[in-house]
Symmetry: C4
Subunit: 473 residues, 4 copies
């Protein structure tokens, strides 16, 4: 039995103890190995770290990383004053009835009121001036719908396919880290919500639960993908891939390419400064474990050696890279994504890229399954992306906001609203199945003048288009 006063004495890099779930650990040797950097631990040195640690680490992770001798003993309950803990956010505010929330914007408002400032900072932040995050949403409003009338619209079927897998909705869950910041049920709660809709979920590489925990209660046919960030520590990546290979319900690997280097998310940086200031720690550099050296041939070959799962590439942001992806048989799909506006500000939106591809390399739509994420707030957004050729659209923040607003039921409400709005839009457009949505149903003239045009931009200089050219059309 160790009391908190004793623990408090070990708060330096020379001797660093922390309490987790009532147990005291010596993490001195681990400081430099922590993927999140030593500063994050030092901020909690000599304290009970449970409330900060818990929502962002999968249960069981500790045992993987710490040597047995690091465990020092049980915390004495009576000794020392209670840590000034951050209550799990979902317990905080009196419950709003989920059924009274009519759209995703309202769910976001409730989530904001329930999330800790840290959680809100992490989820809502985007890079620089949030221009890309905003554009991701607004671009959909610039596309007009063209409803056809006098068509029997009694039936409306939202089910579709991705990589040959049947899915219940053309709406899936994008990989987004640390769901337990939003609610204790975490990613498993999202999976439970997806079960009801047979919706696809791509599990984040940085989930706050293990993949096994997340898929544990899935039903037959429920589809999962798993997001891979290639780490500098290649062996660790290989161990994780091997683990994924062994999970039946994970059907594909989603290799993430849109954040080889961290973007600048000022809301989040500010939140971190605040925490460090509170803890009396001074600015250690953020450790970033992702490997920035990935390349087409090298990385795909390596991946082929370690998994036979189909691969999709997340973060394609130009028609050139879409066309390149189509040349690798191992690659079965791509996710047009700008990382939710969290990587680089003022980049193209997925809608821009879909239109670029229509112009410069439409054949890619036949070779790859294209999905998109970023900015989806309405069923009309969904049908527009589908009409442009996407097989499905992902929601990231929206799912986490649903989770924060009401756990599993909150995610279900989010999916229900979006599914209902999508079905209503399909009926009013005069289509019955997802694959009937086509370019005749949308008017994109309002954004055409924003689409990259190598002919006019690069007048007088050598063209950069490597893989395919508008000249074909």
């Amino acid at each position: 039995m160790i009391n908190l006063l004793e623990v408090a004495k070990h708060s330096s890099a020379d001797s660093c103890w922390v309490v987790l779930h009532g147990r005291v650990y010596d993490v001195t040797d681990f400081l430099n190995d922590h993927p999140g950097g030593s500063a994050a631990i030092m901020a909690l040195a000599g304290k009970d770290a449970t409330e900060v640690y818990d929502p962002i680490h999968p249960p069981g992770l500790l045992e993987q990383y710490l040597k047995p001798e690091a465990y020092l003993g049980v915390l004495s309950k009576t000794a020392g004053q209670p840590v000034d803990c951050q209550l799990p956010s979902a317990c905080k505010s009196p419950d709003v009835s989920l059924s009274s929330l009519l759209n995703l914007a309202e769910i976001e408002q409730v989530a904001k009121s329930k999330l800790s400032s840290k959680g809100w900072a992490y989820y809502s932040s985007a890079t620089d001036d949030n221009i890309t995050k905003m554009n991701n949403h607004l671009i959909y409003q610039s596309i007009l719908l063209r409803p056809r009338v006098f068509i029997d619209c009694r039936e409306c079927n939202l089910s579709t396919e991705f990589l040959g897998l049947k899915i219940g909705l053309p709406i899936y869950i994008s990989p987004a880290a640390m769901a337990r910041l939003a609610h204790p049920v975490g990613e498993a709660g999202i999976a439970a919500a997806c079960r009801r809709f047979q919706a696809m979920q791509i599990i984040s590489h940085n989930a706050s639960m293990t993949p096994q925990q997340i898929v544990a209660n899935s039903q037959p046919g429920q589809v999962f993908g798993w997001q891979l960030y290639c780490l500098k520590d290649v062996q660790q990546s290989e161990r994780r891939i091997a683990e994924i290979n062994s999970i039946d319900s994970v059907k594909f690997i989603c290799l993430t390419l849109d954040a080889p280097f961290p973007g600048k998310r000022e809301i989040e940086e500010r939140q971190k400064m605040e925490e460090m200031r509170a803890a009396g720690v001074h600015g250690a550099p953020q450790v970033w474990g992702t490997d920035a050296s990935l390349t087409w041939e090298k990385t795909l070959q390596w991946l082929r050696r370690h998994t036979s799962l189909p691969v999709i590439l997340k973060g394609i942001q130009t028609y050139e890279d879409a066309a390149l992806a189509a040349k690798y048989p191992q690659v079965r799909g791509i996710v047009l994504s700008n990382h939710g506006g969290r990587a680089l500000d003022t980049v193209s939106t997925p809608v821009h890229v879909l239109l670029e591809m229509r112009w410069y390399c439409p054949e890619v739509f036949d070779k790859l399954d294209i999905i998109v994420d970023g900015g989806i707030m309405r069923g009309t957004d969904v049908v527009k992306a589908l009409a442009l050729g996407a097989k499905a659209v992902g929601i990231g923040r929206a799912a986490l906001y649903g989770l924060a607003a009401g756990g599993q039921e909150g995610v279900e409400r989010t999916l229900q609203i979006l599914a209902d709005e999508t079905a209503t839009a399909m009926r009013l457009l005069g289509v019955r199945r997802v694959d009937q949505l086509s370019l005749q149903h949308i008017n994109t003239r309002g954004i055409e003048s924003q689409i990259f045009d190598s002919d006019t931009v690069i007048r007088g200089s050598s063209s950069s288009s490597e893989t395919c050219s508008k000249a074909k059309f």
Copy 2:
């Protein structure tokens, strides 16, 4: 004689009584047959329903639906406490002088202050984020007028023709439901206002008075149309058409196609939640009686068997459907309408469709009489629609706001303002008759870059234009 305390005991689905106009009815058997759903009745079970029932149901409707034995007796005046009733809105606020209201926006403000929250919610609501409702109005401001000068403009004649019928104004009343929510004189008050201008009125399928009541005081030559929503209950539709066939002043059927399925109107949904909460009722699904299975051949053939009246199709939103409509001789006109932005958000406006038609199928202007509704607030809006080829423009909400602001006189004020503004605009453009307004009087360059262009949008994919193509020009 039955007192309210007695009535109050029958407030369940097993025994449901309501008071209407001082009479007590047992509506238990009718609960499941109510076109508006049982929840709407249950919210008033055991209470005096008059104030809620009255403004939205035609007088005499009750007798049609209830069996004689449902009538239980007269309400005892002295017994029980008075129902907490919603006063007819027109009685509420001290009167603003109608002549001091200078434009439609001011009339809308007065109407808002006079309407019940339910009435305002119903009339003002649009779908999702109200983008279409807003665009319907703003698109007119993006068209520039081109006044010709040195032209004798002493005379100015607003009369014109529709389907060969003479009408006094190029402004008509769009079909909009439940006018008695705005004022006790209801649709008949609108008809009386139209009489003064010889303006055309299309009677809503869901009017709060019977067609006979509405046309009762019309004068010779006053033109009415009747809006048809095809119901799932085909016999009921056929009975109503037969009834219309027998009314001389109804000159055509306006078959509505733009709302085969209900849009999502959140203001209205919120209002309903509020009412149900107040009544202690929990969310029954909304019943929607409209038949979603209509198709060109089947429905038009069926209609031809039941009426020889000319047919116009309301809700055309693409040039493709405009061109299709022109192939059916029975169809004499079309209404370009997006249901006032109440069906699907972010769709084209009628102005977009007029321009599409100019590009892709201008011949349709010779075959059909085109009218438009949505967003009209100014006489300059009217002349722009007419210059683009519309025969007349409809006002829906504006008429109801006029009605709410001052009954028949309020609608007259609305029509007067719009007629005066239209005449002033015509004079200052240098035209004397409605049919002299032409494309030389408008500059649509500002919106041309928004017009659907199958050539540029659908590069690299098979074109969807079924009926006519821009390539002709």
Copy 3:
């Protein structure tokens, strides 16, 4: 001697007395002849009308219209209570130093604080929603300047020519009515300010002083034009033209075509309602003395018979009419003007028309002298209009605001600011003389997509371009 109590008894249409400058008049017989309508007089019946009458009527006008017997006698000073008069606005607020006002927007603010509510309503009002008034100004901000460097810009000469007459500035005073609403020195004060700059002034047809009074203190070479509204009372128009023919410093007639019918100016209407309500008078229709029957041949022939002065046409708003104007040798210039946004809302701005003319009938720039008015707030606005081909730009409201802010000195400050800004802009563009400003100095791409294009707008219908066509280029 008549006292006010006596006067007050004569406040009906049967016997209507008013006091003007301390004299009592019986205006009963004149009620129906008043060009401004009888209601305007009835609002002052039985009262001292001096404060309302004075600023808007030329001195001496009364004698022209009233018969000698209408004069009843002198008002007794002691009798009756003092009229609740509206103080001349220029006396009202403590003086801001004119030299501290740095731009026209600041002068407008001071003017607003000094003007009576009636004066502000009259000057600031525009039609409908003020969209044209706003666009007149904003369109200039959408044109970019292209400064050329390494050019000797020591000299800068603002003088130029119009109709072969030398003028000191490319900035002139547009005809705007009733300057004495702003300041007792009225139009003569404006003329005195122009003298200092040798600036041109077009005297309003509805000036609050006679032309003779306005030009009285002009210096040799100072240029005046006179605005003609053709009246329904042709003889009156002919008398006024004859009067103008006899004034040496008036060098041309500016025939106004952009307001054959009154626009709807709601600020002004509201102000009038307010006044009538205060006076207990009820809404008489506004009398409009302007002849709405003018046509090219008839009116120009009539005018040729009555004056040999050069004629310019004010209110040209399309290239078609500009080209028509160029066919009449008697017409020496045109004013591109939309009446300051006071006639018809949402019309083209003069900048739009200049660009239209560049596209469709550039030869007109060689045949006619083109001037423009509306929206000028900065020297950069001035140089843009000149670079597009205008010979000079007019200020209307800005001159009246200067007058309201500080009488003659206020107008001088207004002209000085605008002249200084214009000279600075010319130097920084690398030009020394007004006629060196050319299309190379401006970039109009930002507004080109707004310019009327008959080729694309009128696809599929017969073109309306009567006089010249873009096909030439």
Copy 4:
């Protein structure tokens, strides 16, 4: 020893004394020779001028201009009341931690709170309505980035070359006057900050320290340019050039062409009025010592006679002048600049000019080194300018704001933030070196419709393009 009461008696143009650094001077004879005008001195006549004089004049300047006999003696410390001085701004507010400032906008906010009102007025002001200043910034947000993925981005090198000189960053310090208004360390503090990054600094002609003082602590290889305003007093200009020729670390002359005449900066004018009013002085005209007669041949020839340093021309604002510059071998580079929006409002931004040059004279990019300034706030702005062909981008106000916020460390923070953001943007775009940034990385469609196009603008009139034409492409 002279006391302040004695000094105070000499406050007229006939006898004008001022105190500077504790010494009393008679500046009567100098009044008319002061390059800043006599009014500036008269505002301080009879007073201690140190606080106003010091931040805007290089140390030692006084000795250059005043005759020895002007020095009257030492100020007696005890006599007279203390002057109501303006404290050096950097001392004023409690320090915000520089490391907590995450972007340039935040640094600007801190600078605003620390600067004197005079300093803020001088730095922040732009001409007229600040439209150009605003556009300089916003135009970058209209360009979209196109990140390429699956590229090894571990390395990122920000170093580059200008005129063959190695520089550590593609970000340099633009010449901006009077840095000691911001902080006592002045331009030397900026130089010290640049040393850490090996960043280039162009010393302002109107620096508040001498060039020697500024470069004193530079390290080998640190690059400076010197800004030349040609003065009316040619000999003075020649003396200053000779001085510059003798300073090794100044590698080129930056001849400024974008302000031959002062623009209208109202914030600054207002500040001056305020000061004059406080000092009881009345509006003397501002003296402007710059020669407005510069021309290509004459001025460049003169300059060649006085220096063999390479010359760059600052203030090129059209492709025509860029092409002209390329014809003079002596000219080695150009700065596309609109003087930070301080000269003429509503002109093109440097981005517009870069695109113009791409269209009309791309060969100039091979002949000259192009740099740009104005509006840079983010690393994404930097990479966009570089991708369009700029060799480097300058910051003017941003450097002064950094200086005001924290002296040398403040400028270092500013450069660090911008360098970090630039490197992050390069990595996420998939480039490793500055010269790899190219047109494929940006989408400029959103602004292409704003680029000057002589073909469409100047229809029907003679083209002005003197030196090269789009027809080549």
